[in-house]
Amino acid sequence: MDAAGIVRTFTTKFPDIDVKTINEHHIEFTVGKDIIRDVITLVDETFPEVIPESAFGVDLGDDKYQVNYMFWSHKDRMIIQLKVNLEGSNPSLPACCDIFSGLEWHERETHEMFGIMFTGHPDLRPLLLPDELVGKYPMRKSFQTDRSRQAETGLPVRKPRPEGGAKK
């Protein structure tokens, strides 16, 4: 199936999803979180040899988040990217790891790094983070990477640099 055929298949079933064809090997769909499970089921039914390539979060600032799902269909030579836009300080969307079990750890990682809740996920224990960073969501832009643990060291807090650089 070529790119136009894939777009037709998806827009016929879900008329309100946004489509962007990036190149002949990559199509991007922007999907609402209420139909994400149905769209991923359609990905599963449409492509015979498809792998869940990746899933990840993006912090867009101002309590806006995005979850991206990447699928690679080897037979159609096509990357299917599904974008889900979320809002709020505790965003959530339904988990899809029961459709493609390879997404389980990606969703687990997105949960611990961004604080995005995947409802219905069987196992949301922290995957990569040490215990002291659990619940701090280090991949959010609001997380202070440098000097975030300075309070534990007992060292004096360094003054912020003056605006506009040093005085001339």
Binding site: H26, E49, I51, E53, S54, N68, W72, L103, W105, L128
Partner: protein, 378 residues
């Protein structure tokens, strides 16, 4: 009266102190000698590579990716460079394309040579460990002659290469391939025909193509099931030179279990991969064109990138390696970079693959997937 060992489950931690478990740990539940539950734990190597990338400019990012897998460093750095080149609109000179492809294939061979040794060591077959590692030295010599270091070479940069081939590099690469081709039939005889090796690997860790697709496996792990999924063929990169070569994706169709693969099949598959890589390098060496190795404006163009999103991908030694990059307007650093390591999926697959196997087969199943902790911890 002694209690029956089948009445109770025993919990065993495989790693992180185990000799074979270098940087990972798996919690196993055993009933007698059989594993009933497997819970792979990640995070022992986590160095927040994705967050680190957000603090480095576009020419400083690729060494972080090389450190995720030192064995396939030339391949590991490429997704980031590809994504930057796509957003910046950089055109890579012809000579750089060919040299990049040659070094990527050399890196792939080097990675498999290391892995033959690693799997054999894990199975207690130590002669086979050291012999391929001797041959591997010739490739490391090539890398050293080319870039000055044996590991993490930082060879590619957005828009081209940092180091050019000399006569000496080419001579060392040809020598490495000559040694490999001379010794490989011996290794195949010694390993693949050894009755002990066959007993340990045949029928162990067997999965079907359908399951492997669900788990997200790629690379040799899925090609051994007979699916020719290979990015070098499926999605030819305009900045690489695979279209200049006449080659076929090596796949394996086992007559007894078509569409499935066991540990032995995956070993055979990786031998075939090496033969393909040698073939590609041999075809490319006479075709190396003259000319510059880097676009003269590449440095300026990679300083600040326009707003954009790009997905850089490469067929790594362990499977599909990719990086999704998002930049904002006039960006000096990435806004978000997501690394997809192939072993993230193969390590996860242990959870489904290991139960009902024997405890002694666990390390064979693990080793046969060719996992590398850097790829799942990042």
């Amino acid at each position: 009266m002694t209690p029956d060992i089948l009445d109770e489950t025993v919990e065993v931690w495989f790693g992180p102190q185990h000799v074979s478990a270098h940087g990972w740990a798996t919690k196993l539940k055993l009933v007698g000698d059989f594993i009933v539950e497997c819970d792979p734990h990640a995070g022992y190597f986590h160095r927040s590579a994705e967050k680190c990338l957000e603090y480095r400019n576009f020419r400083q990012g690729s060494p972080i990716l090389e450190r995720l897998c030192m064995l396939e460093a030339f391949l590991a750095e490429y997704p980031y460079i590809s994504a930057v080149e796509q957003i910046a609109g950089l055109v890579v000179p012809e000579r750089a394309k060919v040299l990049r492809t040659i070094m990527m294939e050399a890196s792939r061979i080097h990675s498999y040579q290391f892995w033959w040794g690693q799997l054999s060591a894990e199975m207690g077959f130590f002669a086979m460990t050291l012999w391929p590692w001797v041959d591997r030295e010739f490739f490391l010599d090539t890398f050293e002659e080319l870039t000055g270091v044996r590991h993490s070479p930082h060879f590619s940069t957005p828009g081209g290469l940092r180091f050019d081939f000399t006569e000496k590099v080419l001579a060392k690469l040809e020598k490495a391939i000559q040694v490999l081709e001379y010794n490989m039939p011996k290794f195949e005889d010694m390993l693949m025909k050894s009755p002990l090796f066959r007993m340990r690997t045949e029928g162990v860790g067997q999965y079907s193509a359908k399951e492997a697709l669900r788990w997200g496996l790629s690379g040799p792990n899925i090609k051994a099931c007979g699916i020719p999924m290979d990015l070098r063929k499926d999605q030819p990169d305009p900045n690489l030179a695979y279209d200049m070569v006449d080659w076929e994706v090596p796949i394996l169709e086992h007559p007894d279990h078509p569409g499935e693969s066991d540990a032995y099949d995956r070993m055979v598959q990786r031998f075939n991969e090496v033969k393909t890589s040698v073939d590609i390098i041999k075809q490319l060496i006479p075709q190396i064109p003259d000319g510059p190795i880097i676009d003269p404006k590449a440095r300026a163009k990679a300083n600040r990138l326009p707003e954009g999103e790009a997905y850089g991908r490469v067929e790594g030694a362990r499977g599909i390696t990719s990086l999704w990059l998002k930049t904002l307007e006039k960006a000096q650093t990435p806004y978000r970079a997501k690394i997809r390591g192939p072993c993230f999926h193969s390590y996860y697959a242990l959870k489904h693959l290991v139960p009902s196997a024997r405890f002694a087969d666990f390390i064979v199943i693990f080793g046969s997937l060719d996992p590398y902790p850097g790829w799942w911890d990042r």
